[in-house]
């Protein structure tokens, strides 16, 4: 069954922005709405040929995972690990206030 082409509203775009953790401005949301509606229109055609009998492909080269031995290698020093951090304290990365269920 081919589901109909989605039509984005500004609210939906803002909501997607929340899920993406991007504080989109109203202006951006409006512009994205227009652009994404055009893009969505053109890509939704994948459904035309995606029959039930066609298996999905996640990786183009069929491989099985190499399982590595459980042997330790030299880790990053604490200094190297923290070297790019915007804010640190006591050898740790600093996060602003975390709310319960972000």
């Amino acid at each position: 069954m081919i589901s109909s082409m989605p039509t984005f509203t500004r609210e939906e775009i803002k909501h997607l922005g929340d899920l993406a953790r991007i504080a989109l401005t109203d202006q951006e949301a409006d512009r994205l709405k227009g652009e994404l509606n055009v893009i969505a229109d053109s890509i939704t055609k994948v459904q035309e040929v995606a029959g039930d009998d066609v298996p999905p492909t996640a990786n183009p080269i069929p491989l099985e995972a190499y399982l590595r031995p459980d042997e330790a290698e030299e880790p990053l020093t604490q200094e190297a690990a923290l070297s790019g951090a915007p804010v640190t304290e006591s050898g740790m990365f600093v996060a602003p206030r975390i709310l319960g269920e972000e």
Binding site: I43, P86, P96
Partner: protein, 517 residues
Amino acid sequence: MSAQEELVKQSASDMAAQLRSGQVSSRELVQAHLDVIEAAEPSIDAFLQVSADQALEQADAFDQRLAHDGAEGLPELAGVPIAIKDMIVTKGIPTTAASKILEGWVPPYDATVIKKLKTAGMPILGKTNLDEFAQGSSTEHSAFKPTHNPWDTERVPGGSGGGSASAVGAFEAPLALGTDTGGSIRQPGSLTGTVGVKPTYGGVSRFGAIAMASSLDQIGPVSRTVLDAALLQEVIGGYDRRDSTSIPNPVPPLAQAARQGQNRDLKGLKVGLVKELGGEGYQPGVEARFNEAVSLLESMGAEVVQVSCPHFPYALAAYYIIMPSEVSSNLARYDGMRYGLRVMPPEGVPQTAANMMAATREAGFGDEVKRRIILGIYALSAGYYDAWYGSAQKVRTLVIRDFEKAFEQADVLVSPTSPTTAFRFGEKMDDPLAMYLNDVATIPANLAGTPAMSIPAGLSDDGLPVGFQFFAPQMRDEVMYRPAAALEAALEEQWGGPISKKLSTPWLDGLAQGSTK
């Protein structure tokens, strides 16, 4: 022509030969290119970072090693400098993916390909410009600056790897590395008259390549000749246990295939013209050069057949679902916590971690990246997963099957690399769909994981380069190198030298006269 200009205009393999015969040192090669970079950058803007000190240090180390131990065991390109797309992680050299969100990040580790280059004694000249996180087809989406096409600096070099392509095209570097997710090595190659190769997916380790769309990304060579690309792929290719998608096989004999091709004997080779990659939407000048090149292949003994890949028209749509889906997840880690930019929310907004992340990502990502992240989040969401992501993965299967059937009828497939030549800055910036169409001929190879390459096929009516694309079966990269080298040799005979002979290089005029030796 100054000796320096003469030196930098050689192919990488010729430079390598001079290194071994002692005619030139690695330091001299590096210095010559640093001089060109200094002279060319004001008009080209290919580099985000020039790592002159490290490059000279590496060159000296190589020169010493060559003097003490000789060239035994070293790859042919040992000592030849190279530029790196800023999508690949380099220890101690800032790596940004051309994004404000990573500005100033200095990685504490090297990508596998960088380790291999260092082991091979190939000095790293610097990091080249790209569309932010490799998302774009013109390098205009770089957060820092646009890169100019050496053939016409009013025009884009293609993308996302416009920096690497322009650097090699403008003689700022003899070689470069790119990453190709939907054509980011091949399309800029086409637009700048250079050679660009996307190896088989899994043929070159992705460890240390900043992920855009993991199941499509592949690192590959950017060069001015087919042989140089083959030699470089032999250096960077091969199995890597740090990349679970790496193929546990040795690199096929690529340089050997390229050298064989230079004999220009293609008897017994079947070349398949892909019916779906041509016609409407392709610039007449592009089609003309393409057809002439096909005739040349025929004249060297190749048998040309037409093949149909009926699902290729769906490839672009599938790509624009799979790619943004993976992008939305791969780019989640840029959240202002561990590295890169942090922006606190504006006054009046609670100063929480979640709001910090949202403010950071709003300020740190450009429009195209945001567009793809939002699209990807949507494509993966519960209500649309089956209709979009699931269907796109099925299209992927169909595209792979199309390739398999086509390769039953032909050894290699061919098409124009890009439907058009280089376009002007701003021309497609406000029309994402028009921009996306640039990659219509390159995307099928990424979806199917097959190797593909673009080589110059001449100039279009507008005087700008046209690219000719070869596809080979998965894990059979050598199969495309032979006809590519043959076509290159035949075309160069017609042109009386490499295509770059037709390129005017005013930035080289100011270079110091006299020998560098």
